[in-house]
Each structure stands twice: as structure tokens, then as C-alpha cells.
């Protein structure tokens, strides 16, 4: 990070190589759109470059970068909601048909439904769920990123799963009986 502050491109490039997939993957889980996720990733790394001097080292660099990514993603979503209201063209978020590019072929249909219901979760539950189950981070790291306790993260994940189950029950496709 010190070398990034000094403006050394190789150091910044290395940081990018290490974290770009994590940042992009997290962003795409929030916004569920490849173009928007790229825009967020771009903003995150520009922020990292400009604010590297403010990084005090009291947390791991990855923790700091994940925090910037989450804040950028949530702000992006809020901004998009505001502008869609302004143009009177409200996109029904629960009907977005997002296919995550990394999902296995046999799971694509179920994953589509999962991403639709994830979008309906409250912010904190969504964040805990994305970091734990999509980013597959250890719970303690999730707690560090969210600046909360391990117990709080466990509680958020329990509530997130309960919420998801409720929403999925309503969505269970009706099957005709022969």
C-alpha cells in the first residue's frame, strides 16, 4: 500500500491483480449487471489509488478494499433507484433475470431464482450473505469487514436464510399433477 501511495504503477497493478476478481465478483452480486459491476470496480480502484494514503493499516488491506466495494455497490444501487423514480420508469428488481457468469451449468436456473430473492433482502443481511456464501469468506473476516461482532454476523445470516426460505416458498413453481 505504501508503494501505491508513492504512485508506483507496478505496485498498483499487483494490487489490482490480487483484488480485481474479488471486487468485481462482490459488485456483480449486488448490482446483478456486468456493465454496472465494471463501473463499480473502476470506481473502487480509483478510490483505492486516491485514498491509499489514508489507509492506516489497522485492518488488513483486503478488509479495507471489501468495505470500499460494499459502500460503492450500495451507493450505486441507491443512485440507480433515485434516477429510475425520477424518470418514472421503475424497474421491478425482483424480475431481473441475472445469470452469474461463474455458476455451474446444471445450477443456472436455480441460481437465477436465488439472485432474484437475494436482491430483496435488507442491506445488512444481503451483505452478510454475499460475503459469506458468494465470496466464501470466513465469518470472522465478514465481521471485520462489516465492523461488527461474529455473533452479529451469525444472527444476520440466520435471518437472511430464513427470509430467503420464506420468499422461495412463495415462488415454488406450481407443478401439474398427472
Amino acid at each position: 500500500m505504501k508503494q501505491v501511495v508513492e504512485g508506483k504503477e507496478t505496485a498498483f497493478r499487483q494490487l489490482y491483480e490480487l483484488f480485481s476478481d474479488k471486487v468485481y465478483n462482490t459488485a456483480i452480486s449486488y448490482v446483478q449487471n456486468e456493465q454496472d459491476a465494471e463501473e463499480i470496480t473502476q470506481d473502487v480502484f480509483v478510490t483505492i489509488f486516491r485514498k491509499a494514503a489514508t489507509f492506516k493499516g489497522d485492518s488488513a488491506a483486503g478488509t479495507w478494499i471489501y468495505r470500499i466495494t460494499i459502500n460503492s455497490s450500495l451507493n450505486f444501487i441507491k443512485k440507480k433507484k433515485r434516477s429510475s423514480l425520477f424518470y418514472f420508469g421503475k424497474q421491478k428488481l425482483d424480475q431481473v433475470d441475472f445469470e452469474h457468469p461463474g455458476i455451474l451449468l446444471e445450477n443456472k436456473e436455480e441460481a437465477k431464482v436465488l439472485f432474484q430473492v437475494i436482491q430483496q433482502l435488507p442491506e445488512q443481511q444481503k451483505t452478510a450473505f454475499i460475503l459469506s456464501f458468494i465470496e466464501q469468506l470466513p465469518r470472522q473476516e465478514v465481521a471485520d469487514i462489516m465492523e461488527t461482532s461474529l455473533k452479529a454476523v451469525e444472527s444476520l445470516l440466520q435471518r437472511a436464510k430464513a427470509n430467503l426460505r420464506k420468499k422461495l416458498e412463495k415462488r415454488y413453481p406450481e407443478r401439474r399433477k398427472k
Binding site: D21, Y24, A37, Q42, F49, H100, N107, K161, L168
Partner: protein, 99 residues
């Protein structure tokens, strides 16, 4: 084989198993580099903008008040002018050029 409700819910919740991380396009780093060399736009906060607007309105009102005060009290200036003329005449009477 068709899944019952519970099995279907579990399959949805576990649909991320084995997933790979999504990757950004190869040219993204170049775009980031381009954006970094551009000067950072100075952001004026909404609060700052509001204070500037309030100050502008205040100045305008003050100017309107000052102009109105000026035009509402013309006599004070006229009296000053008259007094000035009298003192000039006094000067003239003191000097008798022609006897």
C-alpha cells in the same frame, strides 16, 4: 425427477456450489489508469451550496434595503446642498471687489 418444495428450496440455496468468481474484462485496468490521471472533480456539498444561496439572497435584500433608504431620504442631501450654497455666498459678500 421432479423435486418437492423442500428439495427445490434447498437446491436453490445451494446453487452456488462450485461457482467460479466472475472476472472483469481485460481492458478494465487501462480504463482505471485513464481515470486516475484525470484531475479529481471538486465536489461541492449540498450544504455548502445552500449556504452560498442563503448568502446571495441576504446580499440582494441588503442592497434593495440600501437603495430604498437612499431614495426615501432625498431631503437630507438637498439641505446639505443649500447649506453649501449659503456658505459660498458668504464668501462672496466678504470680498467687496467693487465699492
Amino acid at each position: 425427477m421432479k423435486k418437492n418444495k423442500h428439495e427445490w428450496i434447498e437446491s436453490v440455496l445451494n446453487s452456488m456450489e462450485g461457482m467460479q468468481k466472475a472476472q472483469p474484462k481485460d481492458d478494465l485496468f487501462a480504463k482505471i489508469k485513464t481515470q486516475i490521471v484525470q484531475p479529481e472533480a471538486r465536489i461541492i456539498s449540498l450544504r455548502q451550496r445552500n449556504w452560498v444561496a442563503i448568502a446571495a439572497v441576504f446580499l440582494l435584500l441588503f442592497n434593495v434595503f440600501a437603495i430604498r433608504q437612499y431614495y426615501n431620504n432625498p431631503s437630507a442631501d438637498y439641505e446639505q446642498l443649500v447649506q453649501g450654497e449659503d456658505s459660498n455666498q458668504q464668501l462672496v459678500y466678504d470680498y467687496n471687489f467693487y465699492e
